[in-house]
Symmetry: C2
Subunit: 248 residues, 2 copies
């Protein structure tokens, strides 16, 4: 089984679980709304969710009219939560890495992935597999950490420059043009992510036969800013990139 399985690490799993439970976390406020906003009509659709985690999105797809959902994830612990909390007769959960996509039977109207693709080394291979899994006219919608965010590894300088009051003045951007592996710390050391530039993401999709229809780089609206003023840092550097691409 290929792929990185940081989600089965206990310390990581607990930290991640607490993060996702917080009301004000960035996923809930920015990534999930932006991802769902650019999904096509789900009615009667057969959907594949890559890196489905707890299966929250899978259940939401069914609630929005999807006929059948397959959620795959490399982490057995995540899928245990999914099967306990988000099971449904129309959802199938499979414990497998998305790098093994070609081994999966069947075809889909829509392939979705939420914040998992930056863990994948071979983006081109994945895009090729997704293309092959999609029916004609199908769509690939995914979110990932923003390229201005994946560029950071364990740099020997802080990610932000702050003023005397602790306000972020600007982010310290380095190595955007150098793609590849980044060794980061997120709850635990050595969480490996892969940095790709905008052009690599777009060109790979285009080369493999997709039409890029829509990108989103979410920033807070006034209501969110009033409640959580700290998120104004997203205007300096968005946390997420969301992409919708259609199979030609």
């Amino acid at each position: 089984m290929s792929g990185q399985n940081i989600f089965d690490n206990d310390i990581f799993f607990d930290g991640y679980k607490k993060l996702r439970e917080r009301e004000k976390n960035a996923n809930v406020l920015f990534e999930i709304p932006a991802l769902f906003a650019i999904l096509p009509d789900l009615n009667g659709k057969k959907i594949l969710d890559l890196g489905c985690g707890y299966g929250e999105h899978c259940r939401e797809f069914i609630a929005k009219g999807a006929s059948e959902v397959t959620g795959i994830d490399i982490s057995a612990k995540m899928l245990e939560v999914a099967m306990n909390e988000n099971s449904d007769p129309s959802i199938t959960y499979l414990n497998m890495p998305m790098e093994d996509l070609d081994k999966l039977e069947g075809s889909y109207d829509l392939v979705v992935s939420s914040l998992a693709i930056h863990y994948i080394e071979d983006f081109k291979g994945l895009v090729k597999s997704v293309y092959n899994k999609l029916r004609s006219g199908g769509m690939f919608v995914f979110s990932q950490e923003h390229p201005l965010n994946t560029t950071y590894g364990n740099c020997d300088f802080p990610r932000w420059t702050v003023d005397e009051n602790g306000n972020k003045i600007y982010c310290n951007l380095a190595d955007y043009g150098i793609e590849g592996k980044r060794d980061t710390t997120w709850f635990v050391d050595d969480v490996i992510i892969y940095h790709r530039t905008f052009s690599t993401i777009i060109n790979t999709l285009a080369e493999e036969g997709f039409v890029v229809e829509k990108l989103e780089e979410p920033t807070p609206d006034e209501e969110i800013l009033k409640k959580y003023p700290d998120y104004c840092d997203l205007f300096h550097r968005p946390d997420f990139l969301i992409v919708r691409a259609a199979k030609r």
Copy 2:
């Protein structure tokens, strides 16, 4: 006549002319090769060059087999140079801003623009006009300052953080998510450019009927780095974005 005409300012014009004459300038090393590399076959093509400046590209298009080239520019001074140095029976130079594109007669196989579009406020309007000027299957290829570069206005902090030896450690990135007018200094004060995020650029092209085929964010190769090591800063933040989009 709409549009900003900084190129007719004498101080700007002299500064710009000297910059373009330097062998190691970033246009010659990065932008021009990347732009020409993603052009389609020009043989027999009718081409429109938006912001043609000195007309160097117009002449090159003819040398590469184009049947007919129209170069438009807002600056009469630039076009004077174009007509003196790069005239050809198959090239027509017109003194007009690209915002007035709809007034131009005829249709084209290819619309090209080199480093002019970041001066344009109404990108959506321009993309719409370009679409209307293109024949079916036609292409729009343009370069502009990179979105990580247009984000800077006259900030009250330096663009780069350097170490004790003057080496750039990282660039100081702010306001990427805040689009619109930037007041910059380039030879003269008050050069107005317009910052747009990646998503706005891509989404606008898609919404107006283009398929984005290719993006480039040029960085130096080993040969260039050996001759001009200072350009390693482009790995932190590319200077240019080059886009090829096809009319559906």
